[in-house]
Subunit: 922 residues, 2 copies
């Protein structure tokens, strides 16, 4: 008995949240307040809904009495597919206790207790899990209920609902088998509203439903109410493993281990009369954030009706009446719909007060479900409400002004994706009715819609007819003109630093890389085996990394005035410096404007991809000897100097960490026959010679090959060129008085360091180049200025061996920076470019909780980070430590990263607001 091995956990499996139950009394005695609520009412145990019911009971808010069976039952049920008899007994006792509280009897004909069975996961999964209402009715009890309330329509309507829900949810019968006869009945009776159907009609419908059940499931609808109860509970537990729930958890990265709690609650009836209703409200306007109650309700209906959206709802407030007509596209000539505020003013005031009470208690805008039974208000659920990005900022700001929460708390209620959504356009999700075709890495945020083009020529042609999305297996510099005309770029391979990703971010275009299941073959693209021809319309949300079939409208970005305010709060609370990974003028400028305090990673290799530069780069790599190589490096030095001049000028007063050349050299080389031919013509080389050189330079596993500072060990002249370019740039800026020597903070970072011996050689190379350069200067003033610049020297720790020897490495460094992408690749032995196809399976099978390239794998990569940081600090307490890599901007990784107490993180400019926000939330 997995979870019930000790009596203790079995004793605590049920929580009775009826007012004055012993459990509630105990909580109230334990000093229940805003601060302690999360500790006492643990969502992981009692689920979101259950926790809210407990909390509301404690606050004296009327909730229908009932009890919760905690999530451990779900874990047990998942393993053994049964409910242990001890738990069954406990549930039966809890039902008895509920009978006592309400003076009703479950299964009684005269005085029946009806109950609902609902799911309630620790993390909300709206619409994914099952609910069954009106349990406790059968052929006899429905008569009793009818008599008791003297309301046969209500009784038979409730029974109809039970048969329908039980039939679909418990017995897995298709829903439309129940819908059709009901629609037919309404037509035959000439009514449109469910609650205008005649009692006789309902009785006939009930017979039809019972026949459908017998026919479809080969068994009668169970007349025993306890059978109904336990089958309903099992159905709720089963729904945790339903396909849609699994899919939802996959998409939203929710652990299967959490499980769902089960809430069993006395029914309150929104369908009892015209003085009854059911509805949902938000404590503030979730679209614009206005501080006013917002919502809708349905007269004479049960909760399911509003959730399923199959009835016409009414607005909650008088203020909403007018706009309601417009929103619902109703005929304006017809009378304005009456609001609850108008129809049930007392209930409305009560509801408003409760919504404020809950909002104040939770310190956040609330989404509240309620039912009114014959004029009495019952609250069924309360949780933090989903809101637009705009609203989230306004609400946070307003609630601080209203002194409901302080600034620090306000930062925590801003959803972390908010900033990203605000800064980029996005797809209008109200138009999305289908799941995404596939997903990939969100390489450059935004959204795009257009026709698929699979090559540059097609892209250019199609761009004259409309919007284009360029889809490639991977891009290279020759695809530039195709990228230029496309609105979005999708690639099957390549990571966040692939050519496509870097170029797209630089151009501000939408880009998704490493798309799972995608392959481009000629004029067709294949996604998970399905073929889509060139010209097919796709929509892409590259902030999320999702790709949809068809055309989905795009919503523009919109930065509200509260943005600045909130940004200033972040400065007060953030614990860690946020630097940017940037090397283009555009990226650097946006990085600083978005709040970066330095350039934490300036990748020098990206500077060599433009056509005239790559030619010399290729010549340099294919050089016959040292002097030939130096000749070509001299040309490249001029280009690089020019770039550095611009970079230092716009980064005036801020540190710029320049990472020397990192990728395997063959990344720069021509890839196909056409490119080779062009290169040979341009360089006047013999094709067979070039092909031989290329073949020799080919690597089986370039990620583990001749790259990073290994290049500098074999060809020191390459790094010497780069250091000289930095010094030339600085000299030029200083001598032209564009930037003073006091405003320059160059930092030189060595990539892919293996150990201290290797790094020491690189350090000497850098220092010697600096000394030689200064020595060679004729201008004494300049010499003097340069001597005042003390550059910092650092290493990237991105191999397990370097992490394990970080103490020795740190001894000769001013700073170290963890490249968590590469460190993940080597620690897990997992190539980012090749693992897209099976990582999803690994996450599904719970081998990893998350994609390790998105969220830091704490127990291994994280462990190495800790080891390395401790070692580095032990040998050099003053060392500056940072992380650069896509993990640095990953919301799930940031709490862990913060726990490391490092000095800075460096991420892509577009992730800076996000990273700043998260670093302030910890």
């Amino acid at each position: 008995m997995k979870h019930f091995s000790d009596q203790n956990s079995l004793d605590r499996i049920i929580f009775n949240f009826s007012h004055y139950s012993k459990e509630i009394t105990q909580i109230l005695n334990e000093n229940f307040n805003k601060e302690t609520v999360e500790l006492i009412v643990d969502k992981k145990i009692w689920g979101g809904k259950g926790s809210a019911l407990i909390t509301m009971s404690c606050l004296g808010i009327d909730v229908p009495p009932g009890f919760i069976v905690n999530t451990s039952l779900c874990s047990y049920y998942n393993s053994y597919n049964s409910i242990p008899s001890e738990v069954e007994n406990k549930i039966k006792h809890a039902i008895q206790s509920l009978e006592d509280t309400l003076s009703l009897v479950f299964g009684s004909i005269d005085n029946p207790l009806l109950i609902s069975v609902r799911s309630g996961a620790p993390i909300s999964m709206p619409g994914m899990m099952d609910t069954i209402l009106n349990i406790g009715l059968n052929d006899e009890i429905v008569e009793g209920l009818s008599k008791k309330y003297n309301n046969p329509r209500f009784a038979y309507d409730s029974y109809r609902r039970l048969l329908h829900m039980f039939g679909t949810t418990v017995m897995q019968i298709e829903s439309n088998l129940f819908d059709l006869p009901f629609d037919y009945l309404k037509i035959s009776e000439g009514v449109t509203s469910d609650h205008h159907v005649s009692v006789d009609g309902l009785k006939k419908l009930i017979n039809t439903y019972k026949n459908i059940i017998l026919e479809q499931s080969k068994e009668d609808f169970p007349q025993n109410v306890y059978d109904q109860l336990f089958r309903a509970i099992k159905a709720v537990l089963d729904s945790w493993q339903s396909k849609r729930a699994i899919k939802y958890r996959e998409i939203y990265n929710i652990s299967e281990d959490l499980g769902t709690a089960v809430t069993v609650q006395a029914m309150v009836f929104g369908n009892l009369s015209e003085k009854s209703c059911t509805g949902v409200i938000f404590s503030r306007n979730p679209s614009n954030g206005d501080n006013e109650i917002f919502g809708e309700f349905l007269l004479n209906a049960q909760g399911e009706d509003i959730v399923s959206g199959i009835k016409n709802s009414l607005p909650i407030s008088i203020k909403m009446e007018k706009s309601w007509q417009i929103i619902n596209n109703e005929d304006l000539s017809i009378s304005i719909p009456e609001s609850m505020e108008r129809l049930m003013p007392d209930v409305f005031v009560k509801l408003k007060n409760i919504s404020k009470k809950l909002e104040y208690f939770y310190g956040d805008m609330q989404d509240i479900e309620f039912t009114v039974e014959n004029g009495r208000l019952w609250i069924l659920q309360s949780r933090s409400g989903k809101r637009s990005s705009l609203a989230s900022l306004k609400i946070a700001n307003d609630m601080v002004e209203e002194k409901i929460i302080n600034k620090k708390q306000a930062l925590k209620i801003i959803p972390i994706q908010t900033f990203e959504q605000l800064l980029h356009c996005g797809l209008d999700y109200s138009f999305i009715k289908i799941p995404p075709l596939t997903c990939g890495l969100p390489a450059s945020p935004g959204a795009a819609v257009g026709m698929v083009a699979t090559n540059v020529k097609d892209a250019e042609l199609m761009a004259k007819m409309g919007k284009v999305i360029l889809v490639r297996n991977e891009t290279s510099p020759e695809d530039m003109s195709g990228i230029a005309v496309a609105d979005g770029i999708i690639t099957a391979r390549g990571g966040m630093t692939s050519h496509a990703a870097v170029v797209a971010r630089g151009m501000g275009k939408s880009c998704i890389c490493s798309v799972s299941g995608l392959f481009v073959d000629g004029k067709n693209i294949h996604i998970n085996g399905e073929k889509f021809p060139s010209g097919t319309y796709l929509s892409m949300d590259s902030t999320k990394g999702e790709i949809y079939l068809g055309q989905i409208p795009i919503i523009a970005s919109n930065i509200p005035y509260e943005f600045e305010m909130i940004n200033s709060w972040i400065n007060e609370y953030k614990k860690i410096d946020i630097h940017a990974n940037a090397e283009t003028i555009g990226d650097i400028e946006s990085a600083f404007s978005l709040g970066a305090t330095a350039i934490g990673l300036c990748r020098t290799e990206h500077m060599f991809f433009s056509p005239e530069r790559i030619f010399y780069m290729r010549k340099m790599i294919l050089s016959k000897d040292h002097s030939d190589r130096v000749f070509n490096l001299d040309i490249l030095e001029k280009y690089q100097q020019h770039d550095f001049e611009k970079i230092f000028e716009i980064s005036k007063g801020k540190a710029v960490t320049i990472r020397l050349l990192d990728p395997p050299l063959h990344e720069f080389l021509p890839h196909d026959d056409k490119e080779i031919k062009e290169f040979c013509i341009q360089s006047n080389s013999i094709e067979s010679d070039v092909k031989l050189s290329l073949a020799i330079k080919k690597e089986h596993n370039p990620m583990l090959g001749h790259r990073g500072c290994r290049l500098a060990i074999t060809y020191p002249e390459i790094y010497i060129m780069q250091v000289r370019a930095i010094l030339c740039a600085i000299s030029k800026l200083v001598s032209e008085r564009k930037v003073s020597e006091y405003e320059l903070y160059p930092e030189i970072m060595i990539p892919l360091v293996s150990n201290v011996n290797e790094l020491a050689i690189c350090k000497k190379l850098v220092q010697d180049t600096f000394d030689d350069f200064c020595e060679s200067l004729n201008d004494n003033d300049l010499k003097n200025s340069l001597s005042k610049i003390s550059y910092k020297f650092g290493a990237m720790i991105e191999l397990p061996c370097a992490a394990l020897q970080a103490d020795r490495i740190a001894e000769i460094c001013d700073f170290i920076s963890f490249g968590t992408n590469d460190l993940t690749q080597t620690t897990l032995g997992l190539s980012r470019d090749d693992s897209a196809n099976f990582i999803a399976t690994y996450v599904n099978k719970k081998i990893w909780n998350n994609d390790p390239f998105v969220t830091i794998e704490q127990s291994t990569v994280g462990e190495l980070l800790k080891i390395a940081i401790n070692k580095a600090r032990s040998s050099n307490p003053k060392i500056k430590i940072g992380i650069c890599g896509e993990h640095a901007g990953n919301p799930e990784s940031i709490p862990f990263i913060n726990s490391l107490q490092i000095d800075y993180i460096s991420c892509s400019p577009y992730r800076i607001p996000l990273a700043r926000l998260i670093s302030s939330q910890v």
Copy 2:
């Protein structure tokens, strides 16, 4: 002052080893004996030669008095290129002390002290370092010396020698400039022997030599004797950094940090008269191990004459006289050469006694240099003698029988390469006069000589004309017929487990892989930029991994009867089990015959490379769906079952660890258009479809891709097939009563495990397959037998993440095995296949001490091993831990591996004797 910062080390920089010097007296007081000698006389400080001189002084053996300057001077000199003045003064004082001991004066005309300056590294580097004799002579002193000994021939001969050695060694003048005039002199005087040249001739020669020196070096030969001394010392120190010494250290993996000591010693003169001589002896016969003194000497000569081999030497003993004639191809009609035993019987007896004394003291056969000056014997050097593999076994065996050493000590004096040399043929190194062209991984031991063929067709054609060596960038199954006709295989790429390596080992052919600087292009091969056409003769020593230009004779292998004896001693002393990596019948049989106690790594992937199997393997990989895949797997299962039957049958009673499929699947796929076409015809597939599938399956970094147990996570049916094949094989053997259930010890090993979740899925898969299989059996007897087989389940730890989580992994394992090859690749971020080109640079620049794929990188990979072993033992104290990978058989790594206290290592069959020997030496 790097090494002399404290007075203490400066005080101890010089050791005076003259009899009764205070240093020798102190050692004798410290209980100097066999056991403590290595502690007291540290070779790292005093060098090999110096330590021997000290030891011999202590043993009361006559050595020419002198002193040693320790290796720390060399370290200092390497950094600063000068000798600190304090050390200069100490050397001058030591010379004075030598003058006092001998009542001679350095630089005196009447009573001159002549000295030698010799190098002496901690590890012997024969012929690599410089020596200068007869220092202390000048134009005047030579006259004095002549008068003192009344022997002008001796005096001028000594001066001639000084001028020649000083000129070449200190002044870097080409040696043949000195040789030519001497040869001319001998011809003009009509003599053949150096010591028959006339005194006048010598005087003229001396003038010629002085002119040569002045002309070549623009300076006179220094007449100041202290100038001579210090310049000679510097020359000896410089020779540590000479090209040939650096090359030698590279080849023999000797650290540059060791440095050389400098020995300054009074000259004794083997060239003083016909009662003087110089020679070298071995205490036993180094060719066949016979217990008899063996060696040669030269009358009236100095040591250099015998070392340089430019004179005709005489045999040492009467027994050797007869064979001497034969060996030296002398005319048998001429009188038999007279031995020392005949010419100087007293000296011979003394020498024999000293050789026994030294052999007894060192517990090993000795190589001894001596000089006789006017009938008095002086010992110049004693060290362990190099011997043939055959001799090494006989000597070890005899010395145990003679009770000189015990078995444990005997095992330690067997050179570790001995066993490998004995079991395989080798190149005859007496014919090798040039350094190797290049080196690679010794993938399959032995030797081969033949013409280069670069493709199968050429190989087959050329094999009709003579021996062939097939040289390829890498091999694939289509090269099989080329490999079959070749004597040796050389590949530019691929590791110890590449196709070429595995096939060659299976066929017992010589193979060298991952050859540095090699590239095959059409009909030519390029080695380090130099082009060699097809047909070029190469010689390869694949036990060492060396490739030579030209044809070098091959020596056959020869296993002596002592082999069995010594093998039985190993069983008594080895600390760790030795298992074999083997899967072919041949390999398994040789593994057991060589002493493996189990099969530690049976690689199942090698079983799929034969033409008919690879076809189904390819079909399986390119299957459209699950059922298609299962169809092809069913066919492969039959093949695999058949293999396992044979493996279990010959491994009866021994454990067999079967590693389930490991390599990326695309390794099995067709590589070029021809193969693709063939596959399409055979499988009736459409070429474009196959090409598309191949393109989709292509990986950028296959080493970090979809391989190992990742295959089983996405395609469980593959591992299920393999486990079923094992069970079918077992069932067949048991039911046919070929092997009983009590003789079967299958162990199933999961490769490339990332964490415990992944392993748990694999474990369940194996157990479920086992249960299902047993369930499906109709035969109850068989069911009963199978239930008695408890297979073991284990994981390969070859990723840093697995090492870091070994505690959790160990919880569900019976054993773990470290794959140190892959662990090295990921820990260092270094692809074995791509790093050959720069690893040499890394070792040269001392970034790593050794090639990390040959010797375990202790500070990182070793650290992870330690972490993992501690973690694994902490959670599962009973777990069996092993290492399999080429490091397991690497002599340099074994002491470290032994320190880990693991249970077993598993290595290639041909390395088993070596591994056994080493494990017993620790």
